[in-house]
């Protein structure tokens, strides 16, 4: 993985030192909260419902075991014994004291981590495929490009005050997008042209939030050397013409929709022709320099393990077999597998990991996966490089750590924003709903029967829980101070991207879990065969059968 050079180290250390001074001035009353707010946000520090929240950047989700141990230490020493995995592959602490934050930033800097640009109207953490570097169908490892973009965007003076926040995702697996590239401000898909050269399909103007949009292709093939210059032009056009008068209309998706993709493209191309200089070109040597940080670990030469995996899945140990079936993924290197550690345990808020679990995960990563762990946008963790023959031992260790749940990609693997239990913006709670869903449906035979169904919950329209792209999406709303939930069906974040449609009137907290059960029962009734996935059934039959199931004859569509 990438190692800081002197320059990286210096800017992160200096930033932490600056923030220490700013915090001291706030604590003595020298500056007001109004003056302090933009300073703390630039360092990832939010003021949430009960406490400060510090968001730590995890570039493209990749962590070393040393970094995981440091995260455990911070949770234990400065917070309440846990960290929270976010839907942008970052880590959050929910209870830091203001006076401790500069020291936490020093601690993070000591392991090449920081909280810079995890908030504010700037380019945020670059996200990527959690199987980057190991997916068998990968065209090219996207992480070197994520890292190049991270370095380019960090403290970029022209883009420090954009109209709104800006999110970029990169995937190296054009055939199976696991990064939701079409729902980002810019999505980059590594593709191959007719001449066999690799470059980027550039997608722009996607997003969720108040106005969900599927991004549109602005350029079908961008040679790698123009990556930075072209993205600069997109950002420059957005910076110049994006709305600053209305926060809710300030994202790039609104500008792209207002201008139309053709006019937006024309303006970008015009700027690009006028502004690109050799200084912004990415030489092959620079790409190679960064790529060298992502060379594969020293894999052993092993025979293929597909037969062994199949035998594990069908073996006598049913729990282990189900875990192999649901949580273990094929690896590009024979004899190895990628493992999803589910952080969706019954009774524990989704994505919460305790300090002791973090320490143990670091030890497990050292023992089984070359000391690396990846945070997924589904709020789980991945051990990318596990010898298939060691899966039984690893599973036993994870079970002992309360991290052996076999539900990756299943109904109870719910993406959940912090909601009204923590978030200052939320309208309704997400975590208790997620826990109640997990409890109601936590039966292996039922989970296997309904198959791959994603549930995603957001406590407000900002969509941190990605509800627009859940096969079943749930949006919390406020009705005169009470929590209500809107149910939507048919969303998908992947190559078959779609935005879920609202099923009917918002449901009270007494009704919502029962409504999900009715939707699933109706799916089991109307699907053509056990092979027809939930999403396929919804697309084939439409919403009507599900409306009937939930509301009977009286669905008030769109009412909220």
């Amino acid at each position: 993985m990438y190692q800081y050079d002197d320059y990286d180290r210096r800017i992160i250390t200096e930033r932490a030192r600056q923030f220490r001074g700013q915090v001291a001035r706030r604590l003595t009353g020298e500056i007001t909260e109004e003056e302090f707010k933009p300073l703390r946000l630039q360092n990832g520090l939010y003021m949430q419902l009960h406490a400060y929240m510090l968001r730590v950047a995890v570039p493209y989700g990749l962590l070393s075991s040393t970094q995981v141990r440091k995260l455990a230490h911070i949770a234990r020493t400065y917070d309440r014994g846990y960290a929270h995995l976010t839907t942008r592959q970052n880590v959050q602490y929910n209870w830091p004291k203001l006076a401790d934050v500069p020291t936490i930033l020093d601690e993070l800097a000591s392991v090449e981590m920081h909280a810079v640009q995890t908030s504010g109207n700037c380019v945020r953490n670059i996200s990527s495929d959690h199987f980057a570097g190991v997916a068998p169908d990968e065209l090219e490892d996207p992480r070197p490009y994520c890292e190049i973009l991270r370095q380019w965007s960090t403290f970029h003076p022209e883009f420090a005050y954009l109209p709104r926040k800006f999110k970029i995702a990169v995937t190296g697996t054009p055939g199976d997008d696991r990064t939701a590239v079409r729902f980002h401000d810019i999505g980059l898909r590594l593709v191959e042209n007719a001449a066999g050269e690799h470059g980027f399909e550039v997608i722009v103007g996607g997003g969720m939030g108040r106005t969900p949009q599927i991004g549109e292709v602005i350029r079908e093939f961008l040679p790698k050397r123009y990556l930075l210059s072209y993205i600069e032009s997109i950002l420059r056009v957005y910076n110049l013409f994006g709305r600053r008068d209305n926060k809710f209309k300030a994202r790039i998706k609104i500008l792209v929709a207002a201008l139309g993709i053709d006019e937006f493209r024309r303006r970008v191309e015009e700027d690009w022709e006028a502004s690109r200089t050799p200084a912004l070109e990415l030489p092959d040597a620079e790409i190679e320099r960064v790529r060298a940080f992502f060379t594969p670990p020293p894999y052993e030469t092993l025979p293929p393990s597909d037969t062994q995996l199949a035998a594990f899945a069908l073996g006598r140990d049913r729990d282990f077999g189900t875990w192999v079936k649901n949580n273990v993924y094929r690896h590009k290197v024979p004899g190895y597998s990628a493992v999803v550690i589910s952080v969706k345990m019954p009774g524990v808020p989704p994505g919460d990991v305790s300090d002791t679990q973090l320490d143990s995960i670091a030890a497990v990563a050292d023992a089984y996966s070359f000391g690396q762990v990846v945070v997924t946008h589904t709020q789980n963790l991945v051990l990318p490089d596990v010898k298939t023959s060691e899966l039984p031992r690893l599973h036993a260790e994870l079970v002992a750590l309360d991290l052996g749940k076999a539900n990756a990609g299943k109904l109870t693997d719910v993406i959940t924003c912090p909601g009204l239990d923590y978030c200052d913006l939320a309208n309704a709670r997400s975590i208790p709903l997620s826990l109640e869903i997990a409890e109601r449906f936590d039966r292996i035979d039922y989970l296997n029967d309904v198959g791959d169904v994603s549930i995603k919950i957001s406590g407000c329209i900002n969509s941190c829980g990605h509800h627009h792209v859940g096969n079943i999406g749930i949006l919390g709303i406020d009705k005169r101070g009470a929590e209500f939930y809107q149910l939507m069906l048919g969303g998908s974040p992947g190559n078959d991207a779609s935005i879920g449609k609202i099923l009917g009137a918002a449901l009270s907290q007494d009704e919502i879990v029962g409504a999900i059960e009715k939707v699933l029962e109706r799916y089991l009734l109307v699907r053509e065969s056990p092979d027809e996935r939930f999403l396929e059934t919804v697309r084939r039959v439409g919403l009507e059968p599900f409306k009937q199931a939930v509301y009977g004859g009286a669905a008030a569509v769109g009412a909220a």
């Binding site: 706030r26 604590l27 003595t28 009353g29 007001t32 909260e33 003021m47 949430q48 419902l49 009960h50 406490a51 400060y52 949770a75 234990r76 309440r80 014994g81 846990y82 209870w95 830091p96 004291k97 203001l98 006076a99 345990m345 019954p346 009774g347 524990v348 808020p349 919460d352 305790s354 300090d355 002791t356 679990q357 309360d402 009204l420 239990d421 923590y422 939320a426 309208n427 309704a428 709670r429 975590i431 208790p432 709903l433 826990l435 109640e436 409890e439 406020d478 005169r480 101070g481 009470a482 929590e483 009270s508 907290q509 007494d510 919502i512 879990v513």
Partner: protein, 123 residues
């Protein structure tokens, strides 16, 4: 240290956060904000000091007075308190009840398990 298993806890979304009957009408106002030290929620006592407990809040019988106290806090108490504002409450029989789910959660803390209770500051 830290991790506590929650497996035995049962979650019901519709717990005591929701009113069984109609939401009562507001009959008092309270000034609230956040302690700058740790962003914990703060409620203004009748004597002008700030408490971490809603139960100690000073009840105000008119909204205009409450708003003027919040504005004064913005002007004069920015070191200790951040972002003061006014909420409506229903106070009866010695209890103070906020009227929205948000303010009830602010007053009572997260409704989900925490790893470890607050070891923080008390006033």
């Amino acid at each position: 240290m830290g991790y506590v298993k929650h497996h035995q806890k049962r979650f019901l979304l519709s717990d005591d956060l929701a009113y069984a009957g109609p939401v009562p009408a507001p009959n008092h106002w309270v000034v609230t904000g956040k302690f700058t030290d740790d962003a914990a929620n703060a409620w203004r006592r009748a004597d002008g000091t700030w408490s971490r407990s809603l139960a100690e809040a000073g009840l105000l019988t008119d909204e205009a007075t409450a708003k003027s106290l919040a504005e004064a806090a913005i002007a004069h108490e920015q070191r200790e308190i951040s972002d003061p504002y006014v909420i409506e409450v229903h106070a009866a029989d010695g209890t103070i009840d906020p009227l929205t789910a948000r303010e009830r959660i602010r007053a009572n803390g997260p409704t989900v398990p925490l790893r470890r209770p607050d070891s923080g500051l008390r006033r």
